[in-house]
Amino acid sequence: MTHRHFFINFVQNNLFMKILVCISTVPDTTSKINFVNQNQAFDTQGVTFIINPNDEFGLTRAIWFQQKEGADVTVVTVGDSSCEPILRKCLAIGADRAIRIDATPMDGFYVASQLSELAKKETYDLIITGRESIDYNGGMVGGILATFLGLPYLANCNGLEKDGTTFNLEREMDGGKELLKASFPIVIGAQKGLVEEKDLIIPNMRGIMQARQKPLEVVPAVNLEAGSSIESFEKPPAKGPVKLIDSSNIDGLIDLLQNEAKVL
């Protein structure tokens, strides 16, 4: 069934919108960043993992569509079994079902390729990825996924409303914002603004109990190559101490910025 046909079905039969939210599991923002194995791997010891914040804004927006008009929300991640608590959390927040593609994410290209193989099997009206993950900051999964699927992609999406058969969207740019229109389906890169910080849903006991009953399906990965590999990691060199200037010596600060730092 083509998207167009699906769409006609959607309108005539009043089917609900189907949303896929792609979730990345990332170290908590306060994590100490260290490396092991001769600086070849991230040290996960003592690190708490969270839903990538940009993905969580996107998930919350999807849950609003579910609450308001009965949209069906699937969350998906590419990762090993250690990601399952994060998927359960997404279910507790309100997603209807979760899918884990059983693979170690090699790079953004690999993740996008796996997601695209999965997304091809269903007809989603809206696919949400985070603008970027806060660990590798690639900012690439959404754009690659959309291009593989032949769908439009909107990066830095901070506004999304459904208007009959189209979406009204907003993109944050350097120095302003863009207002756009697209017909279903589309892939977006979610960020704050799509919902606000205060709108994020903290799972309650009922949500957590229900999440245990909701389906979490594990599907095998498709055999494909990564686009790149990471050879090694390093940390930035330690910074020298701050130069303190007395609050009565503003001229001193200006002089340092002009003649030492040469930035004024």
Binding site: Y136, M140, D174, L180, S247
Partner: protein
């Protein structure tokens, strides 16, 4: 096998971040003993690029379409790169650059490397240094494919003037492949955007309320700087979200970053620490920002900042 650079313009002006991309592309073309091709969209006169080492300037007339179009730009760039037999396509890390990156990389059947700092460490295979963990670390990444799209971190290479051939050409604008239309663009009232600014003045909760933001704005005006803020400041609606910088906001890579009444939480610092020089003004000597800053004043922002503004006004003759 030339090297291709995508040049961004605003109101017929070439953006500074794109001059950096051209300079970077020139250095790579020199290392590979090949030519540098720049692609512009709807730019009437791109001959200035000759001074930044560009050999061929290809302009793509956009048929009166006035807005950035990720779909058509990426198809056009991939086609030109293909025609030129290029292996490397370089773009900036502006919002549009980062939007375009993964799309053009997929259409060009290449690897996409974002957040690249510095010249490649090797060319065959291509290995680059990239920042990761929101600037808390770096990694060396190697492409498995011969073709690569590089998004260069702004302010990580610099602008270098060098003569190129400067031949002028045009190319056809690729057709649209999907249905996503820009209806309108709203420019923010800020004169300088955070991404393009040399200097960024940032205010935190220590400023007590939106009514005190004239301190930030006046300082920014004297210095021709962009204004930014911490996350709680935008969450409370004191300032627009577009000013929120940090790990979950905009990244900052300016020459000078002045933080006023910002404590320097790890999530804030993560987003701004690739700025070259950091200055903190805070009345709490224990504020973590002092550990991350180059220069600091322990003092009350309401006393220090007005004095700083008036002294800078004298200095700048404003």
């Amino acid at each position: 096998m030339s090297v291709i650079v995508y040049i961004e313009t605003q109101d017929q002006e070439i953006k500074k971040s794109s001059l950096e991309v051209a300079s970077y592309g020139r250095a790579i073309a020199d290392a590979q003993e090949t030519s540098l091709v720049a692609v512009t969209f709807g730019l009437e006169n791109g001959s200035a690029l000759k001074q930044y080492g560009v050999d061929t300037i290809i302009n793509v007339p956009t048929e009166g379409e006035q807005y950035f179009n990720a779909d058509r730009y990426s198809s056009t760039l991939a086609k030109i790169a293909d025609n030129e037999g290029a292996k490397l396509l370089i773009i900036s890390s502006s919002a549009n650059g980062r939007y375009l990156g993964p799309i053009v990389a997929t259409k060009f059947q290449s690897t996409y490397f974002s957040n690249v700092i510095g010249l490649p460490l090797s060319y065959d295979p291509l290995t680059v240094k990239r920042s990761c963990f929101t600037n808390k670390a770096f990694n060396q990444s190697t492409s498995q494919k011969a073709r690569v799209v590089i998004s260069l971190s702004s302010n990580s290479f610099g602008i270098i003037e060098k003569d190129g051939k400067g031949d002028l050409k045009t190319a056809e604008y690729a057709a649209s492949t999907c249905d996503l239309r820009v209806e309108s663009v709203e420019k923010s009232s800020n004169k300088v955007s955070i991404a393009d600014a040399e200097i960024v003045i940032s205010g935190g909760r220590g400023l007590k309320g939106p009514e005190n933001w004239h301190l930030i704005e006046d300082l920014a005006t004297v210095l021709g700087a962009a204004t930014a803020c911490s996350k709680p400041v935008s969450d409370m609606g004191w300032r627009p979200h577009s000013e929120h910088v940090g790990q979950t906001g905009k990244p900052v890579a300016s020459n000078l970053y002045i933080a006023i009444g910002v404590s320097g939480a790890i999530q804030h610092l993560a987003g701004i620490n690739s700025s070259k020089v950091k200055v903190v003004i805070n009345n709490d000597p224990e504020a973590p920002f002092f550990k991350a800053a180059d220069y600091g004043i322990v003092g009350d922002a309401f006393e220090v900042v007005p004095e700083l503004i008036s002294k800078l006004k004298v200095l700048k003759g404003a």
